[in-house]
Amino acid sequence: MAEVILNNVSKAFGQDTALDGVSMTIPDGAFVVLLGPTGAGKTTTLRLISGLEKPDTGDILIGGRSVVNDTPAQRDVAMVFQQYSLYPHLTVHENLAFPLKSPILRTPEDEIARKVAEVAEVLQISHKLNNKATELSGGEMQRVSIGRALVRDPSIYLMDEPLSSLDAKLRSDLRVELKRIQAGLGATLLYVTHDQIEAMTMATHVGVLDQGRLVQFGTPREIYENPVSLYVASRLGLPRINTLPVALFGDAPAGAATIGLRPEHIAQGQGRDSTVTRVEHLGDQTRLHLSLEQHDIVTLTDVHTTLRPGDTVAIAPRNPLYFDTNGTRIA
């Protein structure tokens, strides 16, 4: 396990700038989650660290040593690919054993068998070990792909949306397992996800990418409570942060153009009257769609609410976030 540092790394594909001067320190033993919309450069970041891609400029250090000229094998990274990338002509067992059979490691056969069995157990694919890799469902392939990384003991694990095609139950099981394994090994892990819960519960650090730029890096709480911009603020939080013109509520700091209201920033029962347009019962929470001077607002309310469309609810901001016209946070 090792600390990984990106130093002003840029990467372009032809005219497309995929990464633009990214600097980031992934501390030893940290669980770093990368957030960003599609095309933001998350996969590119992982591929640069793994050595499948070379940066145009900048430096990458693993364990304090510059690795930009090293092969993936020399960097000793494990990667879970977004598109699984299993060996189609091999069985699940052979896929999982493949990294261990590297002559660099010289793992004895019984050790390989033990490791494969152990990982298969954790990922709940023991019953599929003799299937060919092509004879699996998408979720099973994804788990084999995770397993192929977990059998190893690399300097860093890179995982590209590893739980994206699993069902809700398996996803929450594996979320717990992955976190447990990572914490147990003290492993360094860089993890890409679009899933809010994964980011908030697993990460020690979150990095937010915007069109190839790292716009904020911090603990999940920092990112959630103290976003530097409207863009970062809208990466986390469900329902999403509401953005409204400051004029709606008045009493804003100078220069503020937009007010950002998360559900917990909205006090109900005081302030301005808004109309209920829709009530969504999601089971564990109830979403309230409100309309205030033609602006839509989504917030949460009591699970057993009796509010109905057409009712009136008074709302007021409570410690909201303020952004200027560029979307930069000012308070």
Binding site: S50, G51, L52, T71, P72, A73, D76, V77, A78, M79, F81, Q83, S85, L86, Y87, P88, H89, F98, P99, S102, P103, I104, L105, K132, R148
Partner: protein, 315 residues
């Protein structure tokens, strides 16, 4: 009237015919469609085969159709299988088959592997390499006799250039030792591109991401080659071997043009030998038995091979 093409076709059919067709069941219509093919197959493949089997038990001679034909039982088969000349022919064929396939696979795969690396102009190279395959075997056989000329031939000149041997000191076609190799060389020259193309298709079917995963899994180039490239190209390679094997088992034109089976009969492959028995010596019954033996051999070998191929594909 309607614009539906099926209905338009239906209304275009003359009413009387249409009425008659309407009376037929689906099964009957299916038979009507398949019948011409079945008839052709019977006429061109199955009947001649059965007729040949029949002839193989006789002493029939096609150049004397009026002579009385006797059934001789298994005597033709007995004579063929105990004839040492025929065994020599078989050996020549085996030598030809083995070495052409060996070289074509080796060189074809290597070329495919080289061409598959992304470099500028690899499409042009592919076209150039594939050219020999597009020539007629008779033409190839003919002009290689010139290349093999001891005095003026390019082949002898090139060999002498690299080895220092006197170009007129050896004759590829004329020598008993070299002639079997001369046909191997020409067939390899002509058909290696074919094997290369099939291997290339196999190599191109392997997605890049598999090699990326292997690189991350710290597999060396060498190990990637043996654990990914070879197993994934193997079904394609086996298919190429099957095609080449079948083709070369019935090799005729190229070798006839090149060596005519000589010197002596060292390059007389079974198909040439068979043609001589059938259409020069006119021993039709004997040649029929010969053909049946070859048929069974090829059929047996091919089915074993196809089974193996399917097993490889299933892996």
């Amino acid at each position: 009237m309607t614009d539906n093409p099926i209905e338009r076709a239906a209304t275009a059919t003359p009413p009387r015919l249409a009425r008659r067709i309407k009376g037929l069941s689906d099964r009957a219509i299916a038979w009507i469609f398949v019948a011409p093919t079945i008839f052709l197959l019977l006429a061109v493949n199955i009947f001649p085969l059965i007729w040949t089997i029949n002839l193989s038990f006789t002493n029939f001679r096609a150049n004397r159709p009026n002579r009385e034909v006797d059934y001789v039982g298994l005597r033709n088969y007995e004579r063929i299988l105990t004839d040492s000349d025929i065994w020599l022919t078989m050996q020549a064929t085996a030598h030809f088959l083995f070495w052409t396939i060996f070289f074509q696979v080796l060189i074809g795969f290597t070329l495919a592997w080289l061409i598959n690396r992304k470099f500028k102009g690899n499409d042009l190279w592919t076209t150039i390499i594939v050219l020999p395959m597009m020539l007629s075997p008779a033409v190839v056989g003919n002009f290689w006799t010139f290349l093999y000329q001891p005095q003026i031939g390019l082949f002898n000149y090139v060999v002498s250039f690299f080895t220092g041997v006197d170009p007129s000191s050896f004759e590829m076609i004329g020598s008993v030792n070299l002639a079997p190799w001369s046909i191997v060389i020409v067939d390899t020259w002509m058909w290696t591109p074919f094997v290369m193309l099939i291997c290339l298709a196999g190599l191109r079917s392997i997605p890049d991401y598999i090699y990326e995963a292997a690189a991350i899994d710290r597999a060396s180039r060498w190990r990637q080659f043996w654990t990914i490239t070879v197993p994934m190209v193997l079904p394609f390679l086996m298919l190429a071997v099957l095609f080449r094997g079948i083709e070369n088992f019935k090799m005729f034109d190229l070798v006839v043009q090149l060596t005519g089976g000589g010197p002596g009969s060292v390059t007389e492959l079974t198909s040439i030998n068979l043609k001589r028995e059938a259409f020069e010596k006119w021993r039709t019954g004997y040649a029929s038995a010969y053909a049946i033996i070859l048929f069974v051999t090829v059929f047996g070998l091919a089915s074993v091979y196809v089974k193996a191929l399917n097993k490889v594909k299933e892996r």
